[in-house]
């Protein structure tokens, strides 16, 4: 079971790396340079897909957590953990590429403006997700608490998306997902979606590896508990 997961993870991983290479080729050699922002605009093809993949990852966390609360199936909790870590990874990419871009485009690494702040806070919410998990005496309770945080935390995602529309914001408004349809030239759109495909595949590769790792970790803890038993239970068997 778990070896099958690892093999599919490896397969997806190779595919993902290949796609990432393709995207990089497209970004550097194929897609035309944007007129106003110039060469740095090319970071767009990494920045935006990572943000979307992170959103998707946290969506998976929320869904798995909700079903976990309902069915209490350990596997759903493991999936949520794996997805949450993946989500944090891709959020970190957004939080790295954004400032790089911003330094050139806005002349500053960071601005306390809504989208940026909310994205940073999204990262912290899922940090909280891991914190509650480890801060209860009863591990099952920790999982439940984490699931609640995971679900409620996902509320932040739509808020991030609409944040640019409601405030004077430095950050650009949606150019793809807006009611009037994408306002991006075809080549750029193609590159963007190739990037999205690459990161999605990479995410799932990561997800599967992380899942099987979690699976092994828990199996080990389980064996330890069942095997030697704790010294405090020593005299019980009679």
């Amino acid at each position: 079971m778990s070896s099958k997961i690892r093999w599919s993870g490896a397969g997806l991983g190779f595919l993902g790396v290949a796609l990432v290479l393709v995207v990089h080729w497209m970004v550097f050699f194929w897609v035309p340079t944007e007129r106003t922002m110039g060469i740095v605009q090319r970071i767009f093809y990494i920045h935006v897909p990572s943000a979307w993949v992170a959103f998707m990852a946290f969506g998976i966390v929320a869904i798995c957590s909700a079903v976990y609360l309902w069915l209490k199936d350990e596997r759903l909790d493991m999936a949520a953990v794996a997805a949450a870590e993946g989500g944090m990874l891709f959020t970190a990419i957004v939080l790295l590429t954004g400032p790089l871009w911003g330094k050139v485009a806005w002349g500053t690494w960071w601005q306390w403006e809504p989208r940026l702040t909310l994205t940073l806070l999204l990262f912290f919410i899922y940090l909280g997700y891991f914190l509650v998990r480890s801060s209860t005496e009863n591990p099952e309770k920790g999982k439940r608490f984490a699931a609640v945080v995971g679900i409620v935390g996902a509320l932040d995602i739509p808020l991030i998306h609409v944040s640019v529309q409601f405030f004077r914001s430095l950050h650009p408004e949606p150019v793809v997902i807006n009611p009037e349809g994408p306002s991006l030239p075809g080549d750029m759109l193609t590159t963007l979606f190739t990037g999205l495909a690459a990161f999605t595949v990479l995410f799932f590769a990561f997800f599967l590896f992380r899942y099987s790792l979690e699976h092994m970790k828990r199996a080990m803890v389980h064996r330890e508990l069942a095997g030697e038993g704790s010294p405090l239970q020593g005299g019980v068997a009679s």
Binding site: L118, L121, I125, V132, V148, L155, L159
Partner: protein, 225 residues
């Protein structure tokens, strides 16, 4: 019907205990007055126009006053294990949650009125020409805040990290609410037309509804032992 009566019992109890001890209202009220007094001295009205910072101050006072009260929602119950007693009674978990939300909402509304009073008194602040829209913004904001805060204060009361977690968990979710609230309030203070805050009102309403639904649905997983 019984659902409502149980819910009302929670509200009644919280209000009665608060009226006796005045623990939370005092802390919040004290803070409010402090803000007023302090800013009177701290801010040179020739340099800073009170209007310019009033909406931020008001929200900060409300939110912090709220954190103060919400953080203790479940701690207050801990002495003599009374909260355990409630959990052993046949009250549905969502009624318990909603009861707590209502009593916190009442408490916070009282504090908010005090806040506005203090600001009117100390800074001679007029609140713009749209009292209804203003009330809508503030009450919806409080409701969303209380809905989230009540849920998470139950979580943080149940973990060994205690209150440390509360701000970490709640702030990321509250920031959007605060942003929407503050911008809407300051637009109303500037007497802009109500249509300017339409979007914000809708967002605050949506936030409150979603937060309440999430809280009512998830609360039972939080209080399970």
């Amino acid at each position: 019907m019984e659902y409502l009566r149980q819910l009302a019992a929670i509200v009644w109890k919280d209000v009665a205990v608060e009226l006796r001890t005045r623990e939370r209202i005092a802390a919040m009220g004290g803070f409010t007055i402090l803000v007023g007094v302090l800013f009177n001295y701290a801010i040179d009205p020739t340099v800073v126009e009170p209007q310019a910072i009033a909406s931020g101050l008001i929200w900060m006072t409300i939110i912090f006053g709220g954190m103060l009260g919400l953080g203790r929602t479940f701690h207050l119950e801990e002495e003599e294990g009374a909260f355990q007693g409630i959990l052993l009674s046949p009250i549905p978990r969502d009624a318990l949650y909603l009861g707590k939300v209502v009593s916190n909402f009442i408490l916070l509304t009282a504090v908010t009125m005090l806040v506005f009073g203090v600001f009117a008194l100390f800074f001679g602040l007029g609140f713009g020409g749209h009292p209804l829209a203003l009330a809508g913004v503030v009450l919806l904001g409080i409701l969303g805040f209380v809905a989230i805060g009540t849920l998470f204060s139950a979580i943080s009361a149940g973990t060994s990290m205690g209150d440390t977690l509360l701000p970490i968990l709640v702030f990321p979710l509250l920031i959007p609410l605060i942003i929407y609230g503050v911008t809407a309030t300051s637009r109303l203070f500037q007497d802009l037309p109500v249509s300017e805050v339409d979007g914000n009102l809708r967002m605050l309403g949506a936030f409150a509804v979603v937060a309440l639904a999430a809280g009512a649905g998830l609360f039972r997983f939080v209080v399970e032992e």
